[in-house]
């Protein structure tokens, strides 16, 4: 399954990509903002992992755009961010995220959240 990693920090993208590889997801593509991510979503992406605060287009807007597009409306979307206040989390849920990780995270937490999302997607199907 191809995973799209979206973060304006090159360091964070490397960390997320490495964490994905360590838990068995070796196929990844990267984007530095929501705009770049939208352009990459046509290429058979099965999972989107996005940061919140990014230039050009932030993670929240990216989630809304993906959910508004019938081709990507059902794509699992994982928000990985430093934002952890209740209102932010609720905002992300209302926008349509499938799961939510607070930085800093471990590969074990990443695996747990991805497993939850994929199980939910399979159940919905």
């Amino acid at each position: 399954m191809k995973c799209l990693v979206v973060d304006d920090s090159a360091t964070m993208r490397r960390i997320v990509v490495n964490a994905l590889k360590s838990i068995g997801y070796a196929e990844t593509v990267e984007a530095a903002d929501g705009n770049e991510a939208l352009a990459l979503c046509d290429g058979g992406v099965g999972l989107v992992i996005t940061d919140w605060n990014m230039p050009v287009m932030g993670g929240l807007d990216l989630v809304k755009r993906l959910r508004a597009n019938p081709e990507t409306a059902a794509t699992p979307i994982l928000m990985v961010t430093t934002r952890s206040i209740k209102d932010d989390i609720l905002t992300a849920v209302q926008a349509g995220v499938s799961n939510y990780i607070v930085k800093p995270f471990t590969p074990q937490v990443l695996k747990e959240k991805i497993d939850q999302m994929l199980a939910g997607a399979a159940h919905a199907a």
Binding site: S9, S22, M54, T82, I89, K103, P104, T106
Partner: protein, 252 residues
């Protein structure tokens, strides 16, 4: 400048002009015209016609109004700086202290992880040299897997760079805002200082960021209590997925 002094100055000037006019009238009443008297009379009329002098009391009162308004603006700006900038500066100081602490903790974790990794490499070399089979660690992992896990953990520790970077960007933006406010206040006293900086408004407004694009940092970013914050996020998501409609009623 105090109101009383301005009023006193205006009254003095008015009194002076009236005395001059009275004096000219008395001289004229005493006896005949003279060249000096005519000159004096013309001078008094000229002084009276000069708009700068005749309008001086009004000008002074207007200046008083402007100065009073500026003082009011200074007072409000000072209060705004006290309430917003000083408290936020104190918060920023705490954030910067957290940055220092986070980088030190991350560096220590990385050094410890590197030490453990080197120890595992030493053991692998020894086992390889002796031809012995790898013993499993208490978790049942091979030495190679344990070493791989250690290195992956080091990747994770490096997340501190992203978090501290956001904290520093927040601190920089705050300091720039405080600098702008202080420059605007200083401009009240010396227009040549920061001449392109507008006077502070009575109601101190934040900079207009409507066209600035999405914010690229989280001012509340932190490396602390990640586990607790993740647990709270999990609880909120669990409740949201169980009752997706009335999200506004979800309690933390």
């Amino acid at each position: 400048m105090e109101t009383a002094r301005i009023n006193a100055l205006a009254q003095d000037l008015e009194t002076t002009l009236r005395l001059m006019d009275q004096l000219i009238g008395e001289v004229r009443a005493i006896g005949g015209e003279s060249e000096h008297l005519a000159t004096l009379h013309q001078l008094a009329e000229a002084i009276g016609r000069r708009p700068s002098l005749a309008a001086l009391p009004g000008v002074l009162l207007q200046a008083y109004g402007e100065i009073a308004g500026a003082l009011g603006g200074i007072r409000l700006s000072r209060e705004a700086i006290q309430v917003h900038a000083v408290d936020r500066l104190r918060h920023t100081h705490d954030k910067l202290a957290e940055v220092s602490s986070a980088t030190e903790s991350a560096a220590t974790e990385m050094l410890d992880g590197l030490d453990r990794s080197l120890a595992m490499i030493d053991r692998l070399e020894a086992l390889g040299a002796s031809g012995s089979a790898q013993p499993a660690d208490p978790d049942g992992r091979s030495l190679h897997q344990a070493l791989r896990d250690e290195v992956n953990n080091l990747f994770g520790v490096l997340q501190f760079q992203d978090i501290t970077s956001q904290q520093l960007r927040g601190a920089c933006d705050l300091l720039a805002e405080v600098e702008q406010r202080l420059s605007a206040v200083a401009n009240l006293f010396d227009p040549s200082v920061g001449a392109d900086v507008p006077l502070p408004e009575v109601a101190v407004a934040l900079p207009d960021t409507a066209d600035a694009g999405p914010k690229t940092y989280d001012a509340a970013a932190s490396t602390r209590r990640a586990g607790t914050r993740q647990a709270m996020a999990d609880a909120i998501l669990a409740q949201a997925h169980l009752a997706p409609a009335p999200l506004a009623l979800i309690e933390a």
